[in-house]
Amino acid sequence: MQRTALRATLAVLIGPSLLLLTALNVAPFFLGVYMSLYYWSLANLGPPRFLGLLNYEYLFADYRFIDSIKVSLLFVVLSVATELVLGTTLAFVFSSRARGMASLRRISLLPVMVMPLVAGLVWFYLFNPTYGTVTWLCYAVGLGRIPFLTKDWLALLCLVIADVWQWTPLVMVVVFAALQSIPEYCYEAGKMDGLSQRQMLWRITLPLIRPAIVVIMILRAIDSFRNIELVYMMTRGGSGTETLPWYIYSTAFIDGNLGSAAAMAVVMVLFVTVLTQFLVGRLRYRQA
């Protein structure tokens, strides 16, 4: 008798959410797979035409698609690596007990939650070739007028810089929290055991913050892999900045080829799922 009551309570508690998530995640996923098998045009008002796996065949022959994956990966690797190195170093800096550090840390967090579109807008202005502040600063130190957003490898670098600007503080504060959560007794035990400063760093500090670094690394990788706002605002996919999300977006909503875009989306979902599994594995481990 009690068991039925418990089941009803449970259904009330988790039912609505599961329904919602099914409707907006599971259903679209299968619809996406379905669409990828059709010629499904945004403009064409007629019924979609079944193509089988043709969309996928085209995809892997499409050098733009392959390139977009390469660009995306390059973007992810460059930005996440920079953020990790910078963020971790800065976390150590901010761990100093000097006065004012806490306020500085707080201010440095401001970029983290800024609307990515606005970040793109501002950096677009800063990198403007004719009046951008960064362009002028480079010119002022004698580097000449650099066409940041139109030169091939430079444009991607600008995206990386904008991403680094926005997310380094998060990496910093996460590593900082991990550093703070190392119990003081570990260092005290280290002192009593006779460890030198260097030994403390290598044998206590770094091993203990490693899990946090791995988590934030995967999180950042997933996040920057699906970023579209920066490209949208700053380059619109030009000058070697056509990332996978942008290519999918433009195929679907600029070219109007939903079926082909859906096929790419399916590939992307598989890609992200692999990354996510790493992360979920980590979280599962942390919860155990």
Partner: protein, 292 residues
Amino acid sequence: MREATIPPPASRHRSVGHWRPLRTGGLLAVAVAFVGWCVFPFYIMITTALKTDPQIFAWPPVWLFHPVLRNMQNAFFVVGGRSALFFLMNSIIVTAVSTILAVLLGSMTAYGLARFHFPGDRNIAFFILSTRFAPPVAFVIPTYVLVERVGLLDTRLALIIVYTAANVSFVTWILRGFFVDIPKEIEEAALVDGYRHIEIFWRVALPLIKPGVITTGILCAVFSWNEFLYAMILTQSRASTLPVYLSQFSGSTTLVWDQYMAVGVIAVLPVLLAAWWLEKHLVRGMTFGAVR
């Protein structure tokens, strides 16, 4: 033998004290430089919003000028048929409603998953979490088709539903951690005291994790507020939110920097306040509870 291990202590101690201020000064300098780099774009955004066109397009940049508020007014009252105010209203409504719904549904689910054990409960929890990481650009295509079929294109309801779903997974995952941290005995006490599970959820468990609920709610609101892709695709005009307004800049031919920067300031301001306020809890939220 024991005496041999003890050197005269004084000199060593002093040397540490001598270097400490220098070291601290160096670290502070690095920290200040980093903060400068973080704040610089904000400075440019705000000043641009307060400049006149010639000042904006000046080479070299104008550093000293008389701020004008005209751009703000233009952005909100003058431009064409529709002012940014309209987009702002949409943003506020969509954000508020989706946040409340997500926190409500998510906290219920989180409680269910934290307190009731049934076969596969953890798998459900991880399924819910992994939906959060789905790339929006991949899901927006079928979602667009679905929303179009049910006739909700260009409605605030569509955005509310999509954002609620996205946030429910987040809320569920984070609050589940909070609920698990509540000592089981407190809820068992309520059970002995005569309360049913749903009542315990409302009257004991939820009040106990209020800080967590507020934090999570704010993070949800920030997500809904900032979300661009779905808003862009699922709305055309009537239900468009601020990011959609801002995105028009990218395609437009005239560079009205001042107005867009002004709207940007408006779009960023509430979020900055949230970030400032959340500082302590940000890490737990942003890392899905992996780092506290």
